[in-house]
């Protein structure tokens, strides 16, 4: 019996560039094999059971997860009443929108150069501070809180500028830290990525201090839009989710319809072949980093508008959570990252409301371990449709 029995055999080609070399196989085939069963009495009985469970869990992972989330929502509704449940669903959607935007950055970079860009979460934090800086330099606060037109203008200024700055940051990071290591053993760029992450955190710590920084953007979009059965939906919530969906839609269109998007997809599939077709690999990868970081910047602005605080190290945990979302959706899969982001938002919020808020992050990390153990190809597995 093959250890792979349960996992629907994902053809390597369904993963961005995963088939380029033997070492790049997502799941190595030499793990819990029959050799282990031969070894000792205990293992020989546990092994098959584990494999069977593994296969079953792996096959129905998506359904199990959705059932659990629905159960958690229902449980919250029963315990705390419908209005709190609605409130929590709203919170989960808002949080999920942020995770989704950050997760897309992870998934695009992983899809194209197979690197967990640990610095991505910190690019998120940094771009939040860019936005604060831009807003304070251009005195956008008074503009944004003055009138509705002023608010729109302020948003129209702060979003593109911060996204541009973040995108440049991402491109610079790729150029300085990753480009030269593209052909190095896998461990090298990974360690550099951690280094970049720590470097950014350190710079933010030195310049922004160790405490929470209040972002005035919190007061930009105010007021209650409407209420559904006791749950008040604010303009902020609408804006957050709407903006996230809009950006994701724009990205999807970009990747599907434009030449550069096509170049990204082909580079992700097979870098060598893309090169042979005349695609400028370096520029394509830079563009990927630019877009991923710009989306992280959008997420950071949304975050600071919604929560009103930034801190030098929020990006680290947020990054891991967003990465979990990317893994959940199947890494390399943009739509998957979006869906995964919202699912993780649900798990975070409802896990917190059931087990207590202090367990939310542990729960996410546990989910991460479970996904990677049972279904490393992510929820959608083989049925990957759009990739970058």
């Amino acid at each position: 019996m093959s250890e792979q029995s349960g996992t629907p055999a994902a053809p390597p080609a369904s993963f961005g560039g995963a088939d380029r070399s033997g070492s790049a196989m997502l799941v190595d085939q030499s793990g819990l094999g029959s050799r282990q069963a031969r070894k000792g009495g205990v293992v020989s009985t546990v092994g098959p059971i584990f494999r069977a469970a593994n296969g079953w869990v792996s096959r129905y992972f998506a359904s199990l997860l959705v059932i659990m989330i629905v159960l958690a929502i229902a449980l919250t509704g029963v315990q705390h009443g419908a209005s709190l449940m609605g409130e929590q669903i709203k919170n989960a959607l808002v949080l999920g929108a942020i995770y989704a935007l950050v997760a897309i950055g992870y998934t695009m970079v992983y899809g194209i150069i197979e690197l967990i860009n640990f610095a991505h979460g910190d690019v998120f934090t940094a771009s939040g501070f860019y936005a604060v800086f831009i807003a304070s330099v251009l005195h956008l606060d008074s503009l944004a809180t003055g009138s509705f037109g002023g608010l729109l203008l302020a948003l129209a200024i702060v979003f593109p500028l911060s996204m541009l700055a973040a995108g440049i940051t991402g491109v610079v990071i790729e150029f300085v830290a990753y480009r030269r290591l593209r052909d190095a053993p896998r461990l090298a760029p990974l360690i550099t990525a951690i280094g970049v992450s720590f470097l950014i955190e350190g710079i933010l710590l030195v310049f922004e201090g160790p405490d929470n920084v209040t972002t005035h953007q919190a007061s930009w979009i105010n007021g209650q839009a409407f209420a559904i059965g006791g749950v008040s939906i604010g303009y902020t919530d609408l804006f957050v989710v709407g903006m996230a969906l809009l950006l994701m839609f724009a990205l999807g269109t970009f990747v599907r319809r434009t030449r550069l998007g096509k170049a990204m997809r082909s580079t992700a599939q097979d870098r060598t072949a893309a090169l042979l077709c005349g695609i400028n690999i370096n520029r394509t990868i830079s563009a990927t980093f630019f877009i991923g970081s710009a989306l992280a910047a959008a997420a950071a602005i949304i975050y600071s508008i919604n929560y009103g605080v930034l801190k030098w190290n929020i990006g680290f945990h947020l990054g891991i959570i967003a990465f979990t979302a990317a893994v959940l959706g199947g890494i390399g899969n943009i739509v998957g990252a979006g869906v995964g982001g919202f699912l993780i938002g649900m798990i975070y919020v409802f896990g917190g409301s059931i087990f207590g808020g202090e367990w939310s992050e542990s729960l996410i990390f546990a989910v991460l371990v479970l996904i990677l153990t049972f279904r490393p190809v992510g929820l959608f597995g083989v049925e990957v449709t759009t990739r970058a």
Binding site: D28, V176, A184, A188, I200, I320
Partner: protein
């Protein structure tokens, strides 16, 4: 199991170790002049350090050696050291191996070491009896002054003992020993004199970081599995110590039991973490271990099952007291124990690196499929790496808990894992000697240079009248230093400062297999 134990204890010579030829003259004279210089610089070092960590000048006063007799003793000490470090030369200069520095030389060194020890004792007695000002300056056995002289005497007497006994203890592990023991020797006289506790603390934390780095080196360096949650095992060891030797559960076990308990629990967790992640590839493994490393402090913070004391942690951890060995009175006994444990760990890891298991790790690291096809049991081999790596971390954790007497979840954050990773990346992934060097450099920078920079910049700001300089808190630059160290090392010298040969070939594979690289990953 038996095979593992045997491989831990039996040393095998390194295969085909080539080293660059360096003149033995340069090594010996370099060592000698370095030591002489250090003897005079160390007082400044100690003073500056004490200033850096906030001790006032009255607490610690160290002066360079004075008096004719002192200088004579000092030169004697240096001569002895030069004799003793000749094994280093032996390792560095291959053509001397087995000739002038052979077995006879080993015997000579042992005799020299014993004589040196005896001589040290005699001088120590003489100084304490005579106490003549013109001859010995202000030096006396009970004072911390002139520590440099005593430092060299004691430190290298111990080094000499280890070197001298080398052929009987282990095979050819001279360099590892040298690097492991020599810098410890620097701190050694502090044990006998009224050394300020902060120096002992620094030495203790250095030793703990070194142990952690040695353990992580097994996982990352030998087996090539990137573990980003290594602090979790450290936490497990520390919490094991805290739980079984503090008032919190009214259990009081002695430390020497607890280090094994901590190691055992940590290695169990290592294997538990390893089991589900066996099938994962390098970077996924990294992120899973990272998640694990975040969960463990979270569990401690949330006071799971009321075991861990919540965010405040567990305080009042026992500090052993066996007769005059009062660990609570001074950190010096921790330092001694840590020194012994570090040496033991270095020896054991050196052995296991060259054993069948160690070679299996290397094979696994280089090519897992090929390793499996040659009959290596990848499952047990990987789990073994995780378990052994974690056990040392647990052991260090138990020491840490007992040393600081309070553990709290904040002590085991991600930055600890990264600090340890930076150490091995800086020193040389997979190379024990490099890892030891890295731990010295990094702890030196983090615990000495950065605190001192605050002091220096304050002084400088008064001199040049730039008040802004005084306000810079250089200790907050720690993250930047880790980050830059990781990036620069990977970009410029991926093997670390002292790269292991196999690792260097692996990391610079473009040089070795140009055509292969061209085929596999164009652009």
């Amino acid at each position: 199991m038996r095979e593992l134990l045997v491989s831990l204890l039996r040393s095998e010579p390194a295969q085909g170790q080539r080293t660059k030829g360096t003149s033995v003259f340069w090594i010996l004279s370099g060592t000698a002049s370095g030591l002489l210089l250090m003897g005079w610089l160390l007082p400044w070092f100690v003073n500056a350090y004490s200033a850096g960590v906030g001790y006032s000048a009255q607490d610690v006063t160290v002066s360079p050696p004075t008096g004719v007799g002192t200088v004579l003793i000092y030169i004697l000490a240096v001569t002895m050291v030069v004799l003793v470090v000749s094994p280093l030369a032996e390792v560095l200069v291959p053509r001397l191996r087995g000739r002038r520095f052979g077995r006879t030389a080993d015997r000579i060194r042992l005799i020299a070491a014993l004589a040196g020890l005896a001589l040290t004792a005699v001088i120590w007695l003489l100084v304490s009896v005579i106490q003549e000002e013109p001859l010995f300056g202000s030096m006396g056995p009970g004072t911390f002054t002139d520590s440099a002289v005593w430092l060299t005497m004691y430190g290298y007497a111990l080094a000499a003992l280890v070197y001298g006994a080398r052929p009987w203890v282990v095979g050819r592990q001279t360099l590892a020993f040298g690097v492991a023991v020599l810098p410890f020797g620097l701190f050694l006289p502090l044990m006998f004199h009224q050394a300020p506790d902060f120096l002992l603390w620094a030495a203790g934390s250095l030793a703990i970081y070194m142990l952690l780095a040695l353990g992580l080196n097994v996982v990352v360096g030998f087996a090539g599995l990137l573990d980003l949650g290594y602090a979790a095992f450290f936490a497990i060891g520390a919490y094991a110590c805290a739980s079984f030797a503090s008032p919190i559960h009214s259990i009081h076990l002695p430390l020497w039991v607890l280090i094994f308990v901590g190691a055992a629990i940590a290695s169990t967790f290592g294997a538990i973490l390893g089991a589900p992640t066996l099938r994962l590839r390098g970077d996924y493994l990294a992120i899973v271990t990272l998640g694990f490393g975040e969960i463990i402090p979270d569990l401690a913070t949330n006071n799971v099952f009321n075991l861990t004391g919540g965010p405040n942690g567990i305080s009042g951890i026992d500090q052993p007291k066996w007769g005059f060995l009062d660990f609570g009175a001074s950190p010096r006994w921790y330092y001694w124990s840590l020194l012994l444990v570090s040496i033991a760990v270095v020896v054991l890891f050196r052995n296991i690196e060259r054993s069948r298991v160690g070679r299996a790790w290397v094979a696994l690291r280089e090519d897992e499929v090929a390793a499996a096809s040659t009959g290596i049991n990848t499952t047990t081999t990987k789990l073994l790496a995780f378990a052994i790596g974690a056990s040392v971390s647990g052991l260090a954790g138990a020491f840490y808990g007992s040393l600081v007497s309070i553990v709290s979840p904040d002590d085991f954050s991600f930055s600890v894992s990264i600090a340890v990773l930076s150490i091995i990346v800086l020193g040389g992934i997979g190379n024990i000697v490099g890892v030891i060097l890295g731990s010295f450099i990094l702890t030196f920078v983090i615990f000495w240079v950065l605190p001192n920079m605050n002091q220096w910049s304050t002084t400088l700001s008064q001199t040049v009248h730039v008040p802004a300089l005084a306000n810079i808190d250089f200790t907050s630059y720690t993250y930047i230093i880790y980050g830059i160290a990781l990036i620069l090392m990977m970009l410029l010298r991926p093997g670390g400062l002292l790269p292991s040969r196999a690792r260097r070939i692996e990391l610079e594979s473009t040089v070795e297999g140009e055509s292969l690289a061209a085929v596999q990953g164009v652009a």
